[in-house]
Amino acid sequence: MKFLISLAFKNLTRYRRRTLITAGAIAIGIMMFIMVDSMLRGAEYESVRNLKWYETASARIYNSEYWEKRYQMPLDINIPDYKEKVQKLEKNGYKVTPRISFSGELILNVIDFGEDGSMSIKVTAIDPQKDSDVFHFNDTLVEGRFLKPGEDGILIGSWLAEDIGAKIGAWVTIVTRGNGGFYQSMDLEIVGILNCPNPIVNRNLLMMPISTASDYLEMEGAATEINIKLTDNANVKAETAVIKSLIGNNNLSVYSWEDLAFDFLAVLEADRGGSNMILILIFIIAAVGISNTMLMAIFERTRELGMMRTLGMSDSAIRLTFMFEAMGIGIIGSIMGVILGICINFYVVNVGFDFGFMLRDIDIGYRIQSVMRGAWNFDTAVIAFFAGIIITTIVALLPTRRALRMDIPSCLRS
């Protein structure tokens, strides 16, 4: 055994170039594995964060009947006297903000936009003073200013602004149906442009003050939703139960962000399946490379193998020698790969890659607008390290088996 290990080690150092090339292939595979895994985890982490920061908050209160009809955004299925609920929740230490969401028609006039036009839109009416307690829109302002309470102003997402050619100071008209079904039109001045990192939001974001919307739409103190922010490590399920008991109204329901974003989470699950495929692919490519070089290594030494078999070395001992040799290559490659992976991960985590050109037009589910950054994951490095060694060792078995199936005289003659 000691002899076999020393022989394997000597072969490793003797065929140094081959050892380094194979180890290099393994190292690149492992580096890619660590990098791709880091990026996917980073994308997932950032997506979830951007989802909570700009879409779902941590939890949300709706009228119990709202959920089924949420795509129509009805104003009459609402939370009456939202201020009272907001106060109550705030008194209990929760960060909350009310909102009114409604759909309508955006009318663009020829003076400000060069031509007349209209489009279907969704508008979110926010409390300019409280919204930032829960969401993070005020950090995303790229032009103009944030909303003031009670003004006839509107904020617009930068991609939507680009699409329609909106500028600060331009006026838009929104036509919608108020609470009760009457038609209402509002003239609003664009006061700010937001560049929201969440592409789903940035593509069609329109926000106006809740008090203005409340007046126009005759909400009579009602909101369509109350959003709640919880700490990162809060138990969301438990907290929603507490919130439910606090508001003490059977007509209202509390939804966690996971409830609200179930479709996103399903996409994420699918993406995860896809990313596992990428990782498996990386390992298959590496394995084929290893298998090939091991095959070469073994066939180069067919006569040597024949001699060893002639002298009575058992097949299992020969197999073990080549396994040790492959394991040595695997260890070198894995160490190199993990080191390389960690180095490149510094870049991936801190700088990232800009996929903005792609993410603007294609919705792949991730809530990332442009720069995809990685996330550190110690487990991955450990898994990649051992997988590199184990796979290399196992892969070496195939060519060894082929060589051992040759009869000894043929080995000696080669």
Partner: protein, 226 residues
Amino acid sequence: MIKIDKVIKNYQNGETEVKALRGVSLEIQKGEFTSIAGPSGSGKTTLLNLIGCIDKLDLGEISIKGEKVSSMNKKEKTSFRRQNLGFIFQTYNLIPVLSAYENVAFVLSLLDVSEKDVHTRTMNVLKEVGLEGMEDRKPAKLSGGQQQRVAIARALVKDPEIVLADEPTANLDSTTGEDILKLMKSMNEKLGTTFIFSTHDPMVMDYAGRIVLLHDGLIKSDKNRR
């Protein structure tokens, strides 16, 4: 010691069948220094491979030391070779990454020999073959004759009763080849080891105690030179 009885061995070479051995019977006694002679293609290697238990015969029987090796399975043959047979090859077949010492000690590492014994036996046999002081050299740093000496040491270190050598001098110039044969002969006399070696070189035959001449897979003559 070795009994070869009506051995037939055919090779399938694509469509055609090559009759390598066509009924060879032969007995070799302990301590003999036997040369299997004959032109190229006469079946020398085939016969040595069969005696060496690394090939399978088609018909007939071979027994060594009373054991019917021709009907052993692969594992039994491997173990039999390990315990009883030494081999010397035309192309030396040393492991290039190992020193002369390690190439010889390798054989003992396959057997149940204590580390201390491995050292003394390896050093002794290397001295016997005239390689004292060259133990640490790799094969690439040795001449052809020296490499074949390492191979002889490797064959003898486990003290086998039989050493098989297929054209051990074919890759060497005639003086070196003669030296190798002298060494083999002296070992044969000193240790009583049975040597069977093949050759197609008439000079080599001068050293043999017995010459078995093969021709087209049959024994043409069998002469004791003593």
